[in-house]
Structures are given as structure tokens and as C-alpha cells.
């Protein structure tokens, strides 16, 4: 049976109902006891996305572009419709600014490997923050070594807040790119992107935003932010794995050479010369993840059906509840996330290794992430081996946080009695 696209009525103020939303996620039918607090790593999938993938393969699937038969045209339409959905979701000016990739990691590598060598030379500077995920650090380290660049790290302060004054002082006429996350995947701290962009642009530097943690849970408008690039992973936004997006301002994308070459991205190929397509197809060599893009489009529909303001409001309130609840538990040390924190928090239980906490929580069916969260430089700065990280999704409510708190108490009972 072809499933009709899910339509969730926009809830009225205060009408956000995580228990009802939870029923849209089959994983909670398979695991009724599951308290899933790891959406920051990857979100669970709503029925509309799961069924939508199958529906697409059943009814509309063929390879995209260049097919003269109707089915290929229909598949192409659905693929390009998904691109338009992403454009609208990010409020990009033009759908040619949306490149489909495998995930945020690939998007950042694309910019590093294509934009980097075309625009940077020895002595130029790239500024990142000290809370970056490895995916927004290692590609720049590689590029630094390859081109002889300087990689400058802007600090967060003792409370976990991005230090805007320190950042401003690090900008120089050689600053070419600022690559920062929108929300820390470890502390949940929200970085002041608009102000970072203004300062960076004043120096003539471009700005890349890692939107992995912000795009699924708050309104993100690339034109309002003013950034030149923004990346996110589809699977963290309730979409299929293997999907992701690079948003790039058209003038930036069109001044970038291809990074992977092959079919689908060329205009004309001769034996000794090739002309490439314009963006975005220039950056989409080979058969793309067609169904994945369609599924991502359905995931964005799902989010829009709830409303990003409503999601942000709900998750902010729940984050506050979790901070309050956990800070009342003796031996719990919360890692600072600054004044503005959304949906993510890290903590340690004094005297208990995060892996032991994770195992006990798991036995209570509370799924959290433990370890360094692909942010080892931040762990080193905080002198921590790792943390226990809680991250929220639309299906979480206060009862989940209460179950978490009870499981932490059981952990104290076991290790600290």
C-alpha cells in the first residue's frame, strides 16, 4: 500500500505533544521501554520517512537526469523536488545553492578540497572554535598542512560560552575562512553565528556553519545568518542515513572547481577536454542517493509539520528541565554550555567512568552517548576522559528525563554507595 504523506496539523501554542509524536516513530513500538536520548548522534525515523522510502522505490524509482522515459523523468522530478524542499527549509535564495552529499562530513571535505586550494595560499588563516566536532577540524588540519595555512582556534570561556571578543581579536587580514558549529555537539552551547558572520565578513573572510545540531531543532535561515556555507546531515534531522546537504552561496559555489568527477556532472567530454556542469550538479558526480534525498525531503516535511519554533521551544524547556533535574543529583557535574544552550547537555558522575554510567543507563533502557563525542580537543581542554551526553528529539518528554534521573541514581547506588 502506498502510504499517503504524513500530515501533522500544526499544534497550537502549548499543544506540542511528544507522546503523540512518539507514536509516529515505529522504533518505540518495537522498543516500548526505550528512552532515547541520543538524537544528537542520529535521530529516529518517523513512519512517513520509512514508508516514504519504500513508496518511492515502489512507484517512482529510476535513475535521475538524462532519461528520456517517463519513469526517469518522474524520479528526477521527485529528486529535484527534494532539493527545492531543502532550499525552502533553509530559506536559500536559489535551489542551485543546494548540493546533495552523503552527510555533513562529506560537505565539509568538499569545501576544504574544492574551495580551499582554489582560494587559499600559504600563510592564509582559517579560524575554527574549540568546540568543533572532528569533522570540522581534521579537514582543515589536512588543508593547513597541504597549503601551508595557519589554523587558529577561537576559545569558549570558562562557562562554555563562545568568546566573541577573543574571536574578534584573532581575525586578521589573512583570515580567509571561519568554520564554526552552530550548536556544540558536546555542551549544547549556541554560537552567535550572525555576529560571527558580521565580524568575519568585515575582514573579507567567508563563513562555514556546521548546522548538524541546529537544523533539526530550530529555525535556520541561511540568508538571515548571512553565512557563505552551511552543512548538515540528513540522518540527524529524522531523515535517512547517507544523506546530507551543502548549502553554498551561488557566487561561492560557482567559483569552485569540481571535487569528484565522473558522470552526471559534465556538459561535454572530449578525450582531452571536459566542460563541467554549473552548481549544484557540478558537485554531484555519479548516481546520487536519489531515494535518500526524497526521504530527506519527507523528513523536512515532518519537521515543518510540527514547526521548528515549536520544536525549539519544546526542546529548550526540556533542556531546562533536564539541567534542573540533573543538577539536583549529588555527584553529577554538568559540563558548562553557556547562557544559551539547546537540546544537548553533557555531564559526569564523580568517581564513575562515563562508560560504566552508559552501561548502567542502558540496562535501564536509557540510551545516551558516552565518550569524547568526536571532540577530543574539547575533552583535553576540560581535562575529561569523556562525558555522558544527553541529546533530545521531538519524541522526548519530562518522563524520559525522570527515567534518566532514576537510572543515574541507580548508578550512584551501585558505584558510590
Amino acid at each position: 500500500m502506498a502510504a499517503a504523506p504524513l500530515r501533522i496539523e500544526k499544534p497550537s501554542m502549548g499543544g506540542f505533544d511528544p507522546r503523540r509524536l512518539r507514536r509516529e516513530f515505529p522504533i518505540f513500538t518495537s522498543h516500548p521501554d526505550l528512552v532515547f536520548l541520543d538524537s544528537g548522534a542520529s535521530a529516529q525515523k518517523p513512519r512517513s520517512v520509512i514508508d516514504g522510502l519504500a513508496e518511492f522505490y515502489r512507484n517512482d524509482y529510476a535513475n535521475v537526469h538524462r532519461g528520456v522515459y517517463q519513469l526517469s523523468a518522474r524520479s528526477t522530478d521527485r529528486f529535484e523536488e527534494a532539493r527545492e524542499k531543502v532550499r525552502a527549509f533553509l530559506n536559500a535564495a536559489d535551489e542551485r545553492e543546494i548540493v546533495f552529499v552523503r552527510g555533513a562530513t562529506e560537505a565539509i571535505n568538499l569545501v576544504a578540497q574544492s574551495w580551499g586550494p582554489a582560494h587559499l595560499q600559504a600563510g592564509d588563516e582559517i579560524v575554527i572554535s574549540d568546540v568543533e566536532h572532528h569533522s570540522n577540524l581534521v579537514p582543515w588540519q589536512m588543508l593547513r598542512d597541504r597549503l601551508g595555512l595557519r589554523l587558529i582556534v577561537a576559545p569558549t570561556d570558562a562557562t562554555g560560552e563562545f568568546d566573541l571578543a577573543a574571536f574578534e581579536a584573532l581575525l586578521t587580514p589573512r583570515t580567509r575562512l571561519v568554520a564554526v558549529t552552530h550548536i556544540s555537539n558536546v555542551t549544547g552551547a549556541l554560537l552567535p553565528i550572525e555576529r560571527i558572520v558580521r565580524l568575519a565578513h568585515a575582514k573579507g573572510a567567508k563563513v562555514l556553519v556546521d548546522g548538524c545540531q541546529s537544523v533539526p531543532r530550530m529555525p535556520v535561515d541561511v540568508q538571515a545568518l548571512g553565512c557563505d556555507f552551511l552543512v548538515f546531515s540528513g540522518h540527524k534531522a529524522y531523515g535517512p542515513t547517507g544523506t546530507g546537504v551543502l548549502y553554498g552561496r551561488y557566487d561561492a559555489l560557482s567559483a569552485m572547481p569540481p571535487w569528484q568527477t565522473g558522470g552526471g556532472m559534465i556538459l561535454h567530454v572530449g578525450l582531452d577536454h571536459t566542460e563541467f556542469q554549473e552548481p549544484p550538479h557540478r558537485f554531484e558526480a555519479g548516481t546520487p542517493d536519489i531515494a535518500g534525498a526524497v526521504g530527506l525531503g519527507q523528513a523536512l516535511d515532518f519537521i515543518e509539520g510540527i514547526g521548528r519554533e515549536a520544536i525549539a521551544e519544546h526542546e529548550q524547556a526540556l533542556t531546562g528541565y533536564a539541567v534542573d533535574r540533573l543538577s539536583r543529583i549529588p555527584d553529577v557535574q554538568l559540563v558548562g554550555g553557556g547562557q544559551r544552550r539547546l537540546s544537548i547537555l553533557s555531564f559526569n558522575l564523580d568517581g564513575v567512568h562515563p562508560h560504566d554510567v552508559g552501561t548502567v543507563l542502558d540496562q535501564h533502557h536509557v540510551a545516551v552517548r558516552v565518550g569524547h563525542h568526536c571532540a577530543q580537543p574539547l575533552m583535553d581542554k576540560l581535562s575529561l576522559a569523556g562525558t555522558v551526553r544527553v541529546s533530545l528529539g521531538v519524541y522526548n518528554d519530562e518522563a524520559d528525563i525522570d527515567r534518566l534521573a532514576a537510572a543515574i541514581e541507580a548508578c550512584r547506588e551501585m558505584f558510590l554507595r
Binding site: 567512568h353 562515563p354 560504566d356 552501561t359 565518550g371 558505584f415
Partner: protein, 160 residues
């Protein structure tokens, strides 16, 4: 907490594990080791350094340093206790037995002389039911094995 949950967890975190996790034995560097190696689990950041003082064919002294979870700390602590005074050959046989017991593999009949030591390590076999934690229990042993192989070169073994 359901009874089942409590039972499973107590299988993993038996009193002896919690005790060795909190108060590890032989937890210091050796002044004059003949062998040493480091173990690193990149997944959780656990690090352990194993020191050996081998005299002739037997292990005169063994100790460790590092930071890790309750399981890896207890595994290292218990390992140092059973290895002290063993011949190198016996130590290797113990590792084979231990490894089989925590991973559910086959190691054949253990030598009679090692029965007591195998029993001492028995509490760690609770990790069998927690596949993602098996590496915590085997990390110090892998470092020990690397130390035997490489002497004072200070090799680092990784569990990933």
C-alpha cells in the same frame, strides 16, 4: 529497576570488580621494568601502561598505571595479581584461557596448575553478556602481550 536489570548488572559489576575498580592493586610504575607497553581504547579514551620485570623465564613483578572504566581498571588489577610469579609460558596460557572465557571462544582444557588463577578471573567473565564492554576487560591483557613481544620499546596497542 526491574529484578532482571539488577541481576544483569550485578553479573557485570560484581563486588570484586567494584573493589578492584575503586582500589586497584599494583597501581604504580615499576622502577626498573624489563618490558612495558601501553594499551589505548580510542572508543572510550581508556589508557593503560603495563610494566613487567621478567627474570629468566618468570615474571618477578608486574604493575600498571592509567585511567579507565571500572571494568578495565579491575581487569588490569586482577591481571597483575595473577601474573606475579608466573612463568612467561603460564602467563600466555592464562591469557588464552581468559580471552576465550570473556569472548565465548574455545581455549581447550586449562592446565591444572592454572585452575585457581582462572577462578580468580572468573568475575570478569560477566562482560560476555555485554559485547561492547569485552574490550575493556581484554585491553590490559593485550598490552601485557605487547610488552612481552617488544620489551622496552613501549609499543601502544589499540583495541580498535
Amino acid at each position: 529497576m526491574s529484578t532482571e536489570t539488577a541481576m544483569d548488572l550485578r553479573e557485570l559489576y560484581q563486588d570484586i570488580i567494584l573493589d578492584h575498580g575503586r582500589h586497584p592493586r599494583n597501581f604504580h610504575a615499576l622502577e626498573h621494568p624489563t618490558h612495558l607497553a601501553r594499551g589505548h581504547n580510542p572508543l572510550c579514551g581508556d589508557r593503560v601502561t603495563i610494566y613487567l620485570a621478567v627474570e629468566g623465564d618468570h615474571i618477578a613483578d608486574v604493575s600498571f598505571e592509567g585511567r579507565g572504566c571500572a571494568i578495565s581498571t579491575a581487569a588490569a588489577s586482577l591481571m597483575t595479581e595473577v601474573l606475579k610469579g608466573k612463568t612467561v609460558e603460564e602467563a600466555r596460557a592464562l591469557f588464552a584461557q581468559f580471552h576465550a572465557r570473556v569472548t565465548g571462544g574455545e581455549a581447550g582444557e586449562p592446565p591444572e596448575a592454572l585452575q585457581d588463577d582462572i577462578e580468580r578471573l572468573e568475575p570478569l567473565t560477566g562482560v560476555k553478556a555485554f559485547p561492547v564492554r569485552v574490550k575493556c576487560a581484554t585491553l590490559p591483557w593485550h598490552a601485557f602481550e605487547a610488552a612481552l613481544k617488544t620489551g622496552l620499546a613501549g609499543e601502544t596497542v589499540r583495541t580498535e
